[in-house]
Symmetry: C2
Subunit: 117 residues, 2 copies
Amino acid sequence: MPNNSPPPAPPLDGIFQALADPTRRAVIQRLTAGPATVSELAGPFEMALPSFLQHLKVLEDSGMVSSTKKGRVRTCEIDIQNLSAAGGWIDHQRAIWESRLGRLDNYLNEIQSTEND
Amino acid sequence: MPNNSPPPAPPLDGIFQALADPTRRAVIQRLTAGPATVSELAGPFEMALPSFLQHLKVLEDSGMVSSTKKGRVRTCEIDIQNLSAAGGWIDHQRAIWESRLGRLDNYLNEIQSTEND
DNA sequence: ATTAAACTTAGGCAATCACCTAATTAATGC
DNA sequence: GCATTAATTAGGTGATTGCCTAAGTTTAAT
């Protein structure tokens, strides 16, 4: 039986993809203030509920939101870890970029003082 | 007619969208080490050059990469500001989430000490 | 003056995305 | 039991994405 499953896309793909939409970012933003039901989350948006639910599914698939259903009400909450992972990736790139700038600065200072000999 | 998002798409859309692809993240990663030409950047990837160039265009449109052409060679470099903006958004969400946790913690401590009266 | 190198443009194709409406299911309230 | 509420499923549309090949264009090297 050949392995027909697509290679497991690293979680960053899904996380950044999820963050690339203003509706979804607004949901994340709302959830940082605490859990909310689907209706509460959907309230502010003009779009039809099924459309909104697709956004919610993208967020859940990305691991940034989890939800549980009680009776007929689904309550969502944020899971900060995956969002943090994305933040971590960005921080890492910035750190590398800055360390390069630091070395460049050092170098420029050095040739300048050499010139001044 | 999809995506009824607020007319002037905020730059975060494009930035996160650009980061949602492993090829493009790898390019960003490479550019944190310093400028590079299109061929140098494309080298590690299997895809055809025009395909790669589309990725580069997405990165440029997002504002995270800029480039200049000299003779027949285009040299790209990272512009860290827009990447930082994305990092800033994430940091902000985390901060709000954590401050809420802090308040929740306070509250739980308070009712506990009240119980212990 | 040719040829080669480094992109660039044009066009095409399948898959995914972001929306929609309509119909359904599963609790709750009366 | 029957209507209402909350969410879900099914299915459809047009736009965008991510890849491709083929055919330019603009330098640079010989």
